[in-house]
Amino acid sequence: MTRQSKQGEVFQGHVGIGLRVTGEALVASDNFSARYDLDRLKGIFSRQQHKLCGQSYVGKILILNAAKGGVASAWMLREMAARDMGPAALILNFANPIMAQGAAFAGLALIDRFDGDITALVKSGDRVTADPAVGTVEIL
């Protein structure tokens, strides 16, 4: 059964990278790589096996499980942001160095290492605020 997130709930992760941002959550328990999973020109997930295949991530607070795949995401996150075709924030259970490097280079908000499984605590469509300075995600 899908857990119902509650207004005002705050989930604590590790202190992250980037600035505080508010937006609509797009959530799946899948993993993430910009090169492997996305059609970056159209701004949608394009990997057939991905649970978000066909959905737009542009401007969303993207909440997924773990960073996967290669190193290209480190450049790609900034390239996507420059075209206004990137997510508003990246929230993961486990980032890897590539996501941290990419977020730092792009100025993208990134938080990981939460007390619980963040992909089960927030649902798609929730309006949330991510605050990397203190490592929190709050349901609005």
Partner: protein, 418 residues
């Protein structure tokens, strides 16, 4: 994070904006992963294909390249991963002038920074093999996992912006796989068979990689009875890193930090998950398509060694790729030069193949060249490339090199799933 006086000066901008950006990158990533300080890096391997860079990041590089020489030159030996456009061959592949121009601009910028354009992901085989305990900043998951696992060197995955930061400062944050404790084994697998070819070594790596929960999990593989070749370990590691985002594996009795299970786990080994031949073959056959249509055969990811190029030339000698299929092999400039000298390039191209240098298929606008050439059904012996290209609109299939060549000659996928 503790910084030296010199690092603090770079961070404050005393040595110009390039080293300021670089130290900001180092500190930001270091703080995210709770690094206590930095380490000096002996070598940098920089991934920066133009598809990943785009106009935005090429412009960023050109900004650095326009700085005075004392502010812009790299401070650690820096080599490059494959480029996105082979400027000798791009028109054959229907790559555009815009793509080629972005490539030319990024090459010019890197040269101005003092970067050596080796354009290879097999630098550990062809340029400067890392050594045990050496701290590196390697980009490309395949070069990182090989350097960590097979050589016993120490690197995290360093994406382009961070590899460049390491190059400009000579430093990288000391966290992750630079630390002794993080390099110990965490998960145990026991293999009961020996893969028969490179596609099976890749599939074996994929089976392990698929099981990895995060970057931090370190798989230990026992049961490999005699040393694999460098190419076998290359395909195993590249697939493991691709399917799992994993930068280190150990193979007991084979790799340098795993003389035995007790040492690599720093205590009793956990129960082993069996790695059966059935699981390897099932992974490979999971890509088997519903029909025998074939558009393109690709040997790349990682670029081919001289031994692989020799094997490919042997398989193609005296045969002809069907007119309906394109066959591509990608290798490094150094190996391409050797193949030209030894006649291997001529053998492959006389049979209708295309030998590319300094590029790798998935890094060369794979979506766009697929659309331009009408390619969807792709066959390769690389588990890594098969994993990547699903997201690029291809229907990839994994098979042995011999099976791929037989199919390219027939103009359709021959044989059947195991």
């Amino acid at each position: 994070m503790k910084l030296t006086d010199h690092e603090s000066a770079m961070l404050a901008g005393a040595e110009g904006p390039a080293r300021k950006y670089a130290m900001e990158q180092v500190v930001s990533v270091g703080q995210f992963f709770d690094a206590e300080d930095c380490v000096d890096v002996a070598q940098v391997h920089l991934m920066a294909d133009p598809e990943s860079l785009g106009e935005e990041c090429v412009g960023f590089l050109e900004g650095l390249a326009a700085l005075p020489e004392d502010q812009r030159l790299v401070r650690a030996p820096t080599v490059t991963d494959p480029r996105g456009v082979d400027l000798q061959a791009y028109k054959r592949l229907k790559q555009t002038e815009d793509q080629a121009n972005l490539e030319r601009r990024s090459i010019a910028a890197f040269r101005a920074l003092g970067v050596m354009m080796t354009d290879t992901c097999i630098n550990y085989q062809t340029i400067m093999p890392p050594v045990l305990g050496e701290h590196l900043a390697f980009g490309d998951t395949g070069s990182s996992i090989y350097a960590n696992s097979v050589m016993g060197a120490r690197t995290n995955f360093e994406g382009g912006p961070s590899a460049l930061a390491a190059a400009l400062t000579g430093r990288t944050p000391r966290y992750g796989f630079h630390l002794d404790g993080v390099r110990k084994g965490s998960t145990h697998f026991e293999v009961d068979h020996r893969p028969k070819d490179l596609s099976e070594w890749g599939a074996l790596g994929a089976v392990v990689g698929r099981d990895m929960k995060s970057y931090w999990e370190v798989p230990v593989i026992s049961g490999v009875e005699s040393p694999p070749t460098s190419d076998e370990l290359k395909h195993f590691g590249a697939a493991l890193a691709s399917f799992g985002s994993t930068p280190l594996f150990h193979m007991t009795g084979i790799t340098p930090e795993a003389p035995d299970l007790q040492t690599v786990f720093d205590g009793p080994a956990p129960a082993a998950t069996p790695l059966t031949r059935a699981a390897t073959i099932a992974l490979r056959d999971s890509y088997w398509p519903a029909d025998d249509r074939l558009d393109v055969v690709v040997f790349a990811a990682p670029q081919l060694s001289l031994m692989e190029m020799r094997d490919l030339a042997g398989l193609m000698q005296g045969r002809r790729v069907n007119d309906t299929v394109t066959l591509i092999a990608a290798t490094s400039p150094e190996i391409k030069s050797a193949c030209d000298r030894m006649g291997l390039t001529a053998t492959i191209e006389d049979a209708g193949g295309i030998v590319l240098e300094g590029v790798c298929f998935y890094q060369m606008y794979a979506r766009e060249i697929g659309e331009a050439n009408g390619w969807t059904r792709l066959m390769s012996n690389s588990a890594k490339i098969v994993n990547i290209l699903g997201g690029y609109g291809y229907e990839p299939m994994l098979a042995s090199m011999a099976h791929c060549v037989d199919s390219a000659v027939a103009g359709k996928i021959v044989g059947g799933a195991s």
